[in-house]
């Protein structure tokens, strides 16, 4: 009987510590920074095609500190379950000149980014599905800012703006 109680006690202690650890991980992931695997070719040459592991911090966008030049993690406007990484090129009120990749005639258009929105573009403009196609996205869709690359080792360091 005593043996059983001791075992049960230890199991309880262990599960409580595990629960606390998971809670700590969750808080860090949602509110401090989280690692993301960036793949796809839309951000070449900044991020590799085969996948870079990047740390994205979750504080700047909550305090309104996202500026043009930042690489941000954004919930895709056409698919809420997908996150995309793009660079912010314009904030609200900025004039943006771009070429719509879907248009047959490649003429340049200029728009003003509306209030509460940002203009995002991938660095590899030939292969990026971004604001040039779906327009400016609301600032509220930004989930984080990529600031540090962890993998591959030869790219270890801060993500340049």
């Amino acid at each position: 009987m005593r043996q059983w109680r001791r075992v049960a006690n230890e199991a309880m202690q262990f599960s409580v510590s595990t629960a606390k650890f998971i809670a700590l991980l969750h808080v860090t992931d949602s509110y401090l920074f989280s690692p993301i695997l960036a793949h796809g070719s839309s951000m070449l040459p900044t991020f590799n095609f085969s996948g870079d592991v990047v740390l994205a911090e979750r504080l700047s966008h909550r305090f309104g500190r996202v500026v043009p030049g930042d690489v941000v993690m954004v919930r895709a406007p056409d698919d809420p379950n997908m996150m995309v990484g793009k660079r912010v090129l314009g904030m609200e009120g900025d004039k943006v000149t771009f070429v719509d990749p879907a248009s047959i005639r490649q003429y340049r258009k200029t728009t003003v980014v509306p209030k509460g929105h940002v203009w995002i573009q991938g660095d590899n403009t030939k292969e990026s599905f971004d604001s040039r196609s779906y327009g400016p996205v609301p600032y509220g869709l930004i989930q984080g800012r990529a600031f540090f690359r962890v993998w591959p080792p030869n790219g270890f360091g801060f993500v340049d703006d």
């Binding site: 629960a19 606390k20 998971i22 809670a23 700590l24 969750h26 808080v27 949602s30 309104g64 919930r75 895709a76 406007p77 056409d78 698919d79 809420p80 509306p114 209030k115 509460g116 929105h117 996205v137 609301p138 600032y139 509220g140 869709l141």
Partner: protein, 175 residues
């Protein structure tokens, strides 16, 4: 002279005790916050104010599980981040999901003109119940689903209105 006072203060017992107390409290607060995060109650519920036609506001509970698992339906009252003011959370009613078409009066105060629009993929159409005063999708267009923060499901104040918020349109006006 002032430096000597500063050094004395830093070495004093009072300061050391205060420092010890702080270093005791901080990890406990951090642990408490982490435990809170684990409880579904806190990370999925939040309080919101539902203004009722400009009279005293209501206090209600909103849950975040429906939005995360795509379980919203037409007629639900939802919380969303305003597309124009990203820091502001507004309460509106879900009128149409992606792919559905919406017919709405553009400016009910001034004219009867109505327009029909199809809600694009990944977006939803939200409207306040008080169409005359509400700034909603009729003004800022369909909103991306990613801006939805939660679904209002229970009213807790005033006490006479305590209870679940039914899905019927117009019964609980949201401005």
């Amino acid at each position: 002279m002032a430096l000597r006072y500063l050094k004395n203060f830093l070495a004093s017992e009072a300061f050391k005790n205060a420092g010890r107390e702080v270093s005791d409290v901080v990890p406990r607060v951090v642990k408490y916050i982490c435990c809170l995060q684990l409880t579904i109650l806190t990370s999925s519920l939040s309080l919101c104010m539902l203004p009722t036609l400009g009279l005293a506001g209501n206090l209600c509970l909103a849950e975040r599980i429906s939005t995360r698992f795509d379980k919203l339906g037409v007629g639900d009252i939802v919380l969303l981040r305003s597309p124009e003011l990203p820091r502001k959370i507004v309460t509106k009613r879900l009128v149409a999901l992606e792919g559905q078409s919406v017919t709405y009066t553009v400016d009910p105060k001034n004219s009867d003109r109505s327009e029909t629009v199809v809600v694009p993929k990944g977006h939803v159409w939200v409207e306040g119940d008080n169409v005359y005063e509400s700034t909603d999708s009729r003004k800022f267009g369909p909103v991306p689903y990613g801006l939805l923060q939660g679904r209002v499901f229970w009213r807790i104040w005033p006490p006479k209105d305590f209870g679940s918020l039914a899905q019927s349109k117009g019964k609980d006006p949201v401005s």
